[in-house]
Every structure is written in C-alpha cells, then in structure tokens.
C-alpha cells in the first residue's frame, strides 16, 4: 500500500514537477528573452545615438530628380525681415548656354557652397549675377547677340514697384514658384539622354552641336584668342582594383567647358606623376574629380563614364 501510495504520490506528483519544471523553463525563457530584449534595446539605442549626429550632419539623402540635379539654394542674407525668398539656381539653365569657365573664372563664382557670398549690392554694381543680368543685351566674343538680342533681365535693384516683384521672383523663388520641371522637360526633350544626374549627356549634346555653350561674353570676359585645345587626346589612368576597368581621361573634353583655371592648380594641384593619391573615397568626399562630379557634372554613380576601358583576361 505504501508502495502504491508512494508510487501514486510520485504519479500524482510527476505532473506537478513537470509543470514546475515547465514553469521554471518558461520563466528562464522569459528572463532570457527579457535580457535579449534589453540587449537589443541597448543596441538600438547605441545605433540611434551614433546615427543621429551622422544624419544631422549629412541630412536626409535622396537622389535629386533630373531637373533638380545641380540645384543651388542661395540663402546668404535672407532673413525673416526680408520679403524676398532664397534664390533657386538651377545649373542646367545656364549650362545650356554658357561654359562653366565663363561663370567660375571670368565672373568669379566660387565652386564651393557659400564661398562667393553674393549680395544684392554686388549684383547692382554689375558683379556676379549682375555681370550678365543688368537689363542689357549681351554679345559673344564674335559680336553675335545672345538671348535672341533681347536684354537680359536685371538681377537686383534698389527701387522697385509691385510689378518688379515678378522679376525678383524669377530668381528668389524658393517656396513660391517652381516651373523648373516643365521647363526642363521641354529643354531636355531633343537632347541625348544619360542615366544619372540631369539624365542628359551634355558632352554629346555639345559635340553634336545641339547646344552651343558660349565661353566669352563681351564686356565680361577678357579679350583673348580662341583656346587651342590640348593636343594629347586621351590619357589612361590605371584603376587600383584589378578587375575594375581603367579610366580614360580626356583633357580635350574637359577644356571645352572648363579652360585651365577651373582645374589647375585647384583641385588638381600637383604636377608630379603619382604624387596625388586619387581614391574613390576622397572623390566621393568632393575632392579632385568629385569637385564637379558629385554636384553638377554627371555623378559618380555613373561608373562606366570614366572606368571605360575593356577588362582583358
């Protein structure tokens, strides 16, 4: 009987032990899960702590739309007290008509955001935007009228009427009017296409005579002979990674748009072969080729435009 009782007790006790064991296991699981959760939470908190300043530094990254690529917002002196909105400058509008050299060398626009420090007074004195936007007709180096002979609207003025407001808003347009989308579609329609940036192959458009960027404007540029393009056509730069196609660099193609001063001595300062170390990381940071090819010229995501030699066996 005792045996029976004991056995019976064990038999009756077994489920209880099992339940207790299960409870213990479950508690352990909960504790483990809680600990894991704590770890995960801690990891998330750490990630956020590191990511927040990084995000704050670089801002939200979004690939710009074709008509927005190369857009610069000039907000140097606009305050809550001034009624004018910040200036929206789309590079493509001017790139379609003028070389980079004209604005960045002859007129003196810096290639660094905020580097020029343009003021309305400067424009009114006939410098920076005011060099061309002075309410007068412009002529190229050969005396040919630009803008179909029509005067170019004046950039800034001290006295203005309510009617002038529309003229001001042609540039001071952030948050007011944005016709860039429609204008760009109309402009881009006949031009050769590309995958990235503005979605246009500017170089081909220029070579095929679809656009004629003016390099010299009378009264702004210095009188000089037409530029003799470098004799050496293309230069081969060896890629650092074996499987990566080498780079074909053309001085000629760059000189058409940029002249000499835009690239030498800054950002390509050294003349000694191999002294400058071009890394993709530095280029992505906006150095060397990245000076233009991260913001206005075709972007670095278009690898094949530079790394264009066939890879041999």
């Amino acid at each position: 009987l005792r045996n029976f009782v004991v056995e019976n007790d064990v038999a009756t006790a077994m489920p209880c032990v099992m339940v207790a064991l299960k409870c213990l296991q479950f508690t352990q699981f909960l504790l483990w899960r809680w600990a894991m959760m704590q770890k995960i939470r801690a990891a998330i908190a750490l990630m956020l702590a590191f990511a927040a300043p990084l995000c704050a530094q670089s801002g939200p990254k979004r690939r710009p739309l074709p008509y927005q690529y190369g857009r610069v917002i000039l907000n140097n002196y606009t305050t809550d007290k001034t009624w004018v909105a910040p200036v929206v400058f789309d590079h493509w509008r001017h790139r379609a008509k003028f070389t980079c050299r004209l604005c960045h060398v002859d007129i003196g626009f810096m290639m660094k955001a905020g580097g020029t420090g343009i003021r309305a007074a400067d424009n009114m004195s006939g410098y920076y935007c005011g060099a061309c936007h002075g309410g007068k007709a412009l002529f190229d180096g050969n005396g040919k009228a630009l803008n179909d002979g029509k005067p170019v609207f004046a950039a800034c003025s001290n006295s203005m009427t309510e009617n002038d407001r529309l003229r001001c808003e042609r540039c001071h347009s952030q948050g007011i009017s944005d016709k860039s989308d429609a204008d760009f579609l109309r402009f881009a329609q006949p031009l050769p296409k590309e995958r990235f940036g503005n979605g246009l192959d500017w170089q081909q458009a220029e070579e095929q005579g679809m656009i004629h960027p003016v390099d010299i404007v009378k009264g702004i540029s210095m009188a000089k002979k037409p530029m003799a393009l470098p004799k050496e056509k293309e230069q081969l730069l060896t890629a650092k990674v074996v499987t990566m196609p080498n780079i074909i660099f053309s001085h000629q193609k760059h000189t058409v748009w940029n002249g000499c001063e835009s690239c030498h001595p800054d950002p390509f300062a050294s003349v000694k072969k191999g002294e400058l170390s071009y890394t993709m990381s530095s280029i992505f940071q906006g150095k060397f080729c990245g000076t233009c090819h991260t913001s206005v010229a075709f972007p670095l995501t278009n690898c094949q435009r530079c790394h264009s030699t066939p890879v041999g066996p």
């Binding site: 060398v105 002859d106 007129i107 003196g108 810096m110 020029t116 420090g117 003021r119 007074a121 400067d122 004195s125 410098y127 920076y128 210095m222 009188a223 000089k224 002979k225 530029m227 003799a228 470098p230 002249g259 000499c260 001063e261 030498h264 001595p265 800054d266 300062a269 003349v271 000694k272």
Partner: protein
C-alpha cells in the same frame, strides 16, 4: 551783380569739368585693370611659354596684388581670387615644365 554772375558761371564750368573728368575716369579701365587683363588673358597660352616667360607672368601677378587690395570690398572679392587662379595656372605650368626638364 556782375561779379556774382561771373563767379556763378565759373563755378558752374568748374563743376561741369569735374563731373566730366569723373565720368571719363569711370568709363576708362584703370591701370591695374589693364595690366590684370594683359596678364590673365594669357592663361590659355601658358603651355607654349618658356619658364622665363612664365616666371615673368608670375611676378606681374604678384605686383598686382597690392593694387587690387586697395580697391573696394566687392572688387577685391571678385578680382583677388581671379588673380590667384591666373597666377596658379602659370605656377602650375612652370612647375610642370621644370619637372619635365629635370627628368
């Protein structure tokens, strides 16, 4: 009365000639500007110059700096970087020529 009239006419003529001179000075390029254009319009031909010619152009650029620094703020902001760019090209080509000459 007659003396007063003569004095008024003289003052008027004086003022006219002064304003004319100022206008003429405003239109004509100043000496530094002429030199600036003479030097910086040669950047595109830099590859064809001898090291001595390039050295001379660099010196001419350096001589322009104090003259441009005396100008008003906006002209300083426009022309000093422009002069730096121009000098930079000459120095760059000069170094490149010296480098290829030393090999």
């Amino acid at each position: 009365m007659r003396k007063l009239r003569i004095a008024a006419i003289l003052i008027f003529i004086g003022l006219l000639s002064l304003s004319g001179a100022r206008a003429a000075a405003g239109d004509a390029p100043e000496a530094w500007q002429k030199e600036f254009e003479a030097v910086c319009s040669q950047t595109q031909d830099a590859m064809g110059f001898t090291p001595q010619q390039l050295q001379t152009l660099v010196h001419r650029c350096d001589a322009l700096v104090p003259q441009i620094e005396k100008l008003d703020d906006v002209r300083k902001r426009v022309f000093l970087p422009r002069l730096r760019q121009c000098r930079g090209v000459f120095t760059y080509v000069l170094e490149s020529k010296n480098e290829s000459g030393s090999k």
